[in-house]
């Protein structure tokens, strides 16, 4: 197996009495799509927050590309190539769509405020965006406010922003929520393009049809614990998983 791009080793966090992540370990390879599933409140989003540095893990360690980032703040992890989207899209709601997307390119270029101020050339935003929007299949007046955009398209746009960051790792929280089937196909195409570029993806999803067809590997969480970890076929036959989803007889 290739060297993992992301490695979590026994990470945990508790909120009051609720253990939302309990000794979670996994590895993500470049180009891999890993599904993260589990019942509501299982701790999926919390796990992404731990990886991206919004929460600090109370034990264990996280490595990005072999570097220990356990104590590294979120913005530095982002600069190391960690991109993410949110369950409810997080945009600058008072800013234009274009500004929202440019923030992704800013992160890819990392040229600094001064260089940017004096007009240093970075990556070709227009061409990259055009390529991605062709896959996304919709277009907008880019100077409009982001709040005019429907929820589903905002979810896709967040994936696009993440891809503009040229990430090594993408964490995607419930991309299918609010999307119709065609839009979902397009979102998956975008993510596939990212993996072709060597990006490893962790995707949280409730729609089993998508998860089983789309993901190379799957982690199942319940009450913050990993109860199964393997290929879609393995996970589907796993006793504990069936129990967690269907309830104990």
């Amino acid at each position: 197996m290739t060297k993992p791009i992301l490695k979590a080793d026994g990470i945990s966090i508790a909120f009051g009495g609720v253990v939302a992540a309990d000794n979670v370990s996994f590895e993500l390879a470049p180009g891999e799509i890993k599904g993260l599933i589990g019942p509501n409140g299982a701790g999926k989003t919390t796990l992404l927050n731990l990886i991206s540095g919004i929460y600090n893990t109370s034990s264990g360690s996280i490595h990005i590309d072999g570097v220990d980032v356990t104590k590294v703040p979120a913005y530095k992890r982002a600069r190391m190539g960690l991109a993410r989207t949110f369950q409810t899209p997080r945009f600058l709601h008072r800013s234009s769509i274009i500004n929202n997307l440019l923030l992704g390119t800013d992160l890819a270029d990392q040229m600094g405020y001064i260089n940017s101020f004096f007009g240093k050339k970075g990556s070709n935003f227009n061409d990259e965006l055009e390529e991605l929007m062709e896959i996304a299949g919709f277009t907008f007046d880019w100077n409009d406010s982001i709040s005019t955009m429907p929820f589903g398209q905002q979810k896709i746009l967040e994936i696009i922003r993440a891809m503009l960051e040229h990430p090594k790792i993408m964490l995607v929280d419930e991309p299918a929520a609010g999307l119709n089937d065609i839009e979902l196909q397009r979102a998956m195409k975008l993510m596939e393009l990212a993996t072709e570029r060597g990006c490893g993806i962790i995707v949280i999803e409730h729609r089993m049809d998508m998860v089983m067809n789309f993901c190379h590997n799957i982690i199942v969480l319940n009450f913050g614990k990993v109860i199964a970890n393997g290929t879609p076929e393995e996970v589907q036959c796993n006793e504990a998983v069936i129990e967690a989803y269907l309830g104990r007889e």
Binding site: S52, G53, I54, P73, A74, Y75, K76, A78, R79, L82, A83, R84, F86, R90, F91, L92, H93, R94, S95, I98, N99, L102, L103, G104, D106, L107, Q110, M111, G112, Y113, S116, F117, G119, N126, L129, E130, W142, E165
Partner: protein, 327 residues
């Protein structure tokens, strides 16, 4: 997709300003020029508030103190050290910026109302200091006979000459802020304002970036303080109280907090109104109060927000018409 082109609005506004400048240089008397110059000076400081409050979302009630610090530093450099005035203004702005960065590194850790109150508290401290520290400020008497600006042997003496100098400085500062808005720093600041969690995951060092914004705001305030000192040739600490901070804040809020043109409109309106409404005497503050309440209720984005929504409506109508024609 994003071709650079001068929009008709920009051309119209530039033309309007050119005409205005011409008119002022021909007709304005000293009384009028004084008011106009003051509004230009306040506009420069308002730009800083616009960066910190409009772009970054931090309610700044401490601008007057940095204006005072900048003003007195520049006055002291020029009077006591005999420094050329252009240099003393620049050095005062930089020195105040350093002070601002230090104060800012503590203040920007606070959020929302806490930041606003802390910045107000800072104004009180500085105001007391300026009023009482005689060697630096002349105490209650203030400082007199501050030399005027001279550039390459040319001395800026008349109010009209000052008017042109201030126009150039204000225009330059406005361009600077617009450039910030359109580049990475501006976007990062807006990301902090709208969604600081997203900002962090987009690689923005929010703490450091907020300190930058605070420092920029203090430097603009300092520049306007230094300009006031040399323009009026006198300054006294009484100007740099929380009252001035509040008035500045109101100018920016009513003009439009997130727009350079809005800051301009706000400062002009709020410097002229007191003169126009002079006959109302005591009631003037009451009128201001009412004006602010009404603005906040009916136009939260200030006068500029109203103009923008009108512009957007016109644009939409045009679009609809085009679409109809296409059919």
């Amino acid at each position: 997709m994003m071709k650079k082109r001068l929009s008709p609005a920009v051309i119209a506004i530039s033309g309007l300003f050119a005409l205005l400048m011409l008119g002022i240089s021909i007709w304005a008397n000293d009384y009028l020029l004084t008011i106009i110059n003051m509004s230009l000076i306040y506009f420069i400081g308002a730009l800083g508030i616009s960066v910190l409050m409009g772009m970054t979302g931090y309610m700044m009630l401490g601008s007057a103190s940095f204006m005072g610090i900048g003003g007195f530093i520049s006055a002291n450099f020029a009077v006591k050290l005999g420094m050329p005035v252009w240099l003393s203004i620049i050095l005062a702005t930089i020195a105040t910026g350093i002070i601002g960065a230090i104060i800012g590194s503590a203040l920007v850790k606070l959020n929302g109302a806490f930041f606003a109150f802390a910045s107000l508290g800072f104004t009180q401290i500085v105001s007391t200091f300026l009023t009482n520290y005689v060697p630096f400020t002349g105490g209650a008497d203030g400082m007199q006979k501050i030399p005027t600006l001279s550039l390459g042997g040319f001395k800026v003496t008349s109010l009209l000459q000052w008017f042109f100098v201030l126009c150039i400085i204000a225009f330059g500062c406005g361009l600077l802020v617009e450039r910030i808005r359109k580049t990475q720093l501006g976007r990062s600041l807006e990301s902090i304002r709208d969604n600081s969690v997203a900002a962090e995951t987009l690689g923005v060092n929010t703490y450091l970036t907020k300190i930058y914004a605070f420092t920029i705001a203090t430097m603009f305030a300092a520049l306007s303080g230094a300009l006031i000192a040399h323009h009026n040739s006198v300054i006294s600490a009484s100007l740099f109280s929380s009252v001035t901070s509040f008035r500045w804040f109101m100018m920016v809020m009513c003009g439009g907090v997130n727009s350079t043109l809005g800051a301009f409109i706000g400062t002009v309106v709020f410097t002229f109104l007191p003169e126009v409404l002079r006959f109302t005497k005591l009631f003037i503050n009451m009128l201001f109060g009412v004006a602010i309440i009404l603005t906040m209720i009916y136009m939260p984005d200030g006068l500029m927000g109203v103009l923008q929504s009108i512009a957007a409506r016109i644009k939409n109508k045009k679009k609809e018409r085009k679409e109809k024609q296409a059919k």
